[in-house]
């Protein structure tokens, strides 16, 4: 399925990719097999999972491998692939926050390896006519996987560029048939202290499960993705396997990982970070260079990887550069109070 969000030139399906852009991408892709062949196909860019030949292969179940093989590659790419060059897989998978596995940036990669993600089921409930517990396979299979290269802006003022593989969240919500009472979507992460050492810490401020939420129109927005993979493979455990949210115009903490429950609800959910410190983290958490975190500025960000000689500090963009697509969702709202 092709999504249709090409309203702006900023981020859209690149049906014409200049060769220079193509070549610059090679630096990050390692393998370039099939590039020439891909260009010929139906006018838009095709790549394959073999483009990520330097990315360690995972242990995807057969159904997911099949879905990945049939993915629509490069469905969404940055308008300027030089400015938004892909973050190397090794960095994206070894430097992130997933507090269920500890608060250090390398804790998730060190500790999430044994998380049992097969089988996995997701409960879809609340204000829906067609809910219930579903196997992950049944959640994903009806849709086509799409590869989308999104900027990821962490609330801690660093950022990366990551190629996700997923399906639009709207597909799942539509299939669940929300009732007229459904106004918000609430998400929950797995709670399993035996597998998640961060949940065993008695000093943790988070009241597990980790909870996130979106307004229904945000959840239905075509940019909002439910990811099952990245870099041409299934999600590594530390990045939220087997199912995570990706909302590219919001701070990273909104993109909840290892989802076990999706509920359509009438009231605005209280997300975990808001529950810990409502003056620092709001419900919306839209990337906004003009509204600082009380403890640090949000005007700029460190694009990773960086080095001692080049901290790679760049200006943060309104809605993380997705303003053309999403600004209309917030028309008339004071983003200083709804941060």
């Amino acid at each position: 399925m092709l999504i249709n969000i090409a309203k702006s030139s900023d981020l859209r399906e690149s049906d014409v990719t200049p060769e220079s852009v193509y070549l610059s991408r090679r630096r990050f892709m390692g393998g370039v097999a099939g590039l020439g062949a891909g260009m010929a196909l139906s006018g838009h860019v095709h790549a394959a999972s073999s483009d990520y030949s330097d990315v360690p292969s995972g242990n995807a179940p057969a159904w997911l491998s099949d879905k990945i093989e049939a993915a629509q590659w490069r469905a969404v790419v940055p308008s300027d692939p030089n400015a938004d060059a892909l973050t190397p897989y090794d960095d994206a998978s070894h430097y992130n926050n997933f507090y269920e596995f500890g608060t250090g940036k390398s804790d998730p990669a060190r500790r999430a390896g044994d998380l049992e993600t097969q089988p996995w089921s997701v409960v879809i409930d609340g204000e829906v006519n067609n809910g219930g517990r579903m196997a992950l396979e049944d959640v994903i299979t009806p849709s086509q996987l799409e590869e989308r290269i999104y900027r990821l802006r962490c609330v801690e003022a660093w950022s990366m560029v990551i190629p996700w593989l997923g399906i639009p969240l709207s597909d799942i919500i539509e299939r669940a048939e929300p009732t007229s009472k459904a106004k918000y979507v609430r998400f929950e992460t797995l709670v399993d202290p035996a597998q998640m050492p961060g949940q065993r810490s008695s000093f943790a401020l988070i009241d597990w499960p980790y909870v996130e939420g979106l307004r229904l129109d945000e959840a239905m927005h075509p940019l909002t993705l439910l990811a099952v993979g990245m870099y041409g493979r299934e999600l590594p455990n530390q990045n939220g396997a087997p199912l995570r949210l990706v909302v590219p115009w919001k701070y990273g903490f909104k993109s909840i990982k290892s989802i076990v429950r999706i509920s359509l609800v009438e009231e605005q959910p209280v997300n975990s970070w808001q529950a810990i410190a409502a003056n620092e983290y709001g419900f919306y958490a839209n990337v906004n260079p003009e509204v600082d975190h009380p403890r640090w500025s949000q005007a700029s960000e460190r694009r990773l990887p960086n080095s001692l000689f080049n901290p790679n500090i760049i200006d943060t963009r309104m809605f993380n550069g997705y303003a053309d697509e999403v600004a209309s969702l917030y028309q008339g709202m004071d983003l200083r109070t709804h941060y």
Binding site: G102, A204, W296
Partner: protein, 207 residues
């Protein structure tokens, strides 16, 4: 040279070398690309932790001297205090270089707006004051005022812990550990408890 003096000299040199080791180790990790995608922040955090450890170690020397009567603890007190200052200063340099990117205008607004930056800066100013007055000349000039001046290290510890507290986002375990050690070291200075330390030594050595 009497053997005790020689031993103490070797001990001081050993402590000096040991205090250099973490800096060399972290630099090597950065140089060999084992510090992750954000090496500047890696140095910032490690050196900050190092400064706090050094401050706690420095503050443990007086109780240890009382408990053991070994001169070795007393002779490294100034050195560890100066190491604390050096690490704290490097921590600031990392912040300026790698987090702010030498954006001085932003530094002004950070100092004006961020409590944890203000508190950290105050602690560093205090440590600098103590470092500057740690030489013999200053000690002589200050005379009786030297000791009360250097009791500033206690509020500095409080400022450093507050600085750290305001950086923590979601898990208080590590901070709690440091705060507990700091509180213990302060307790050992309460006169009623401090008086017990030499007695405890006697009981241990005779027991």
């Amino acid at each position: 040279m009497p053997s005790l003096l020689r031993l103490l000299l070797a001990w001081r040199i050993g402590v000096f070398a040991a205090a250099c080791v973490p800096l060399i180790w972290w630099s090597w990790q950065v140089a060999s690309q084992q510090a992750g995608p954000e090496p500047g922040r890696f140095l910032l955090l490690n050196i900050g932790h190092g400064a706090l450890w050094l401050l706690l170690l420095t503050l443990s020397l007086t109780p240890l001297t009382k408990l053991t009567r070994w001169k070795g603890f007393a002779v490294i007190r100034r050195q560890l205090g100066l190491w604390t200052l050096a690490y704290a200063f490097l921590h600031l340099v990392c912040y300026l270089l790698f987090i702010l990117g030498l954006n001085w205008a932003q530094l002004g607004s950070e100092i004006a707006n961020r409590p944890y930056i203000i508190v950290g800066m105050l602690a560093l100013v205090g440590l600098t004051l103590l470092g500057a007055t740690s030489n013999r000349f200053a000690m002589r000039r200050l005379g009786k005022r030297w000791k009360p001046l250097h009791k500033l290290v206690y509020p500095i510890l409080a400022l450093v812990l507050l600085h750290f507290f305001w950086v923590v986002r979601a898990d208080m375990r590590e901070w709690s550990l440091y705060a507990l050690i700091g509180a213990l070291l302060m307790l050992l200075r309460l006169p009623a408890i401090a008086r017990q330390l030499p007695k405890l030594r006697q009981r241990l050595s005779h027991g």
